[in-house]
């Protein structure tokens, strides 16, 4: 059930909406959390559900169900917030904080799974997450996306995390540095090296093909 519910983005619209959660609205959300934790938390889940699901699915490539991991991450976040006073909540940088929790939850789940393997766990790491989606719709992208997901999964852990946070989850570099607990320059170089490795492994044989007009052309996600 949980696996079937997950859907891959068709376009970047939703992530752009998340990205649109600028510092101002993040501050506003923190203020609301500090004022009414439960109501604010429902907004938090609505705003950052995609971010946490993406990190759970793509930055970890463990065997746990993405939706279970994401729900558990939000519950941990809530339980932590209950112990914070209002001043601390207002100071939070929500995105890196949530991503860090999601990564911890995924790591713990992977450890637990390696102690108690689950019969129904996914055997192939990096398998495309999308299921239960319109078949024709999926078929169009599944091959290419599945291939890329596998290449991504094969990257060294830090590069993979940096690339996922930068280009899949669309986090700005300072927040990636916060998650990885490293200087921004280091984070930036993890991103660059990971991307270069993906290009070398994956993009080399595509260069001869012409880019289609319109659609996703032109939008450089670099900042």
């Amino acid at each position: 059930m949980t696996r079937d519910g997950l859907q891959r983005f068709r376009a970047r619209g939703v992530l752009e909406a998340v990205q649109g959660a600028t510092a101002d609205s993040e501050d506003e959300l923190c203020r609301r959390l500090a004022g009414d934790l439960d109501a604010g938390f429902a907004e938090l889940v609505a705003t950052y559900g995609s971010l946490v699901c993406t990190v759970a699915a793509r930055a970890t490539f463990g065997n746990e169900e993405t939706e279970d991991l994401a729900a558990e991450a939000f519950l941990r976040a809530y339980r932590a917030l209950r112990g914070y006073d209002a001043a601390r909540i207002r100071e939070l940088r929500l995105r890196p904080w949530l991503v860090t929790i999601a990564l911890n939850v995924a790591r713990n789940a992977r450890r637990a799974a390696s102690r108690h393997p689950r019969a129904d766990s996914l055997a192939v790491t990096g398998e495309p997450v999308a299921r239960g989606r319109d078949v024709a719709e999926l078929a169009e992208t599944a091959d290419a996306a599945g291939e890329l997901a596998k290449r991504l999964a094969a990257l060294p852990a830090k590069q993979r995390l940096a690339v996922v946070l930068r280009y899949v989850a669309d986090l700005p570099v300072p927040e990636i540095a916060a998650v990885m607990a490293c200087p921004e320059g280091t984070a930036r170089s993890h991103v660059a090296r990971g991307l270069a490795a993906l290009r070398a492994a994956y993009g080399a044989d595509r260069t001869s093909q012409a880019r289609p007009a319109g659609r996703r052309g032109g939008q450089e996600p670099d900042r």
Partner: protein
Amino acid sequence: MNPLLAAPIEDQLAQLAVRPPRGFADRVVARVSTVVGPTGPLRVAWTASGICAVEFASRLGDADFAARVRERFGRPVLPADRPLPGLVAAARTGNARRLAFDLTGLTPFEVAVLEATLAIPVGEIRPYGWVAEEIGRPRAVRAVGSALGRNPVPVLIPCHRVTRSDGSIGNYGGGPAMKEALLRAERVNLDEVAELAAVGVHYVGSTTTKIFCLPSCRHARQVAARNRLGFRDLREAGSAGYRPCEDCRPGLRRSA
């Protein structure tokens, strides 16, 4: 030609983002609502897995109920936009067998007790020992009583329908008066059961069908007075050539 093959790699990576499924928030947030119960309003809380808490509104205010759920489950608790499907009907009729329950935190024994109790039909009662037998632990009668005393979802899982075999009503979290009110609201033949128990009769048989029942079973109550025969125990019924009712299952395993 697949357009993705030629898209810049950054855009292809963006395609790997994962969006939460519809209703994902309910995996995190517990919902609360107040519904009409058989004897008055009930406060009900549920998670994505099912109903997790019920309390009589007369015993606990809205905010205190939410606080209790929040404390016990460590989840945000918010008012429901709409009641859980099936909840309103279940609270009104007393039949919640089609609803899902979230019994997180209970022991397997407690869960088994509550599942067996959920199957007791509206308007009927069962002894504590019956529940113990249903779950295959015939000697755990006292433990059944304790488990029912900790029922987090009273009324909907009808622990009020489990009573003492001596015909008295037994304990109840909401008080014995509440238990009696609930049973009378669903027209259990409490007085008749007590009268029979007072003269040592715990089972009622039909001389026409040669089937015997618990005295509150709907089949027992349909037997005409001239065809009714009382039994003290299972042995008496068995040696008279009567077989147990398949619906109320008196002494299911002992008689086998």
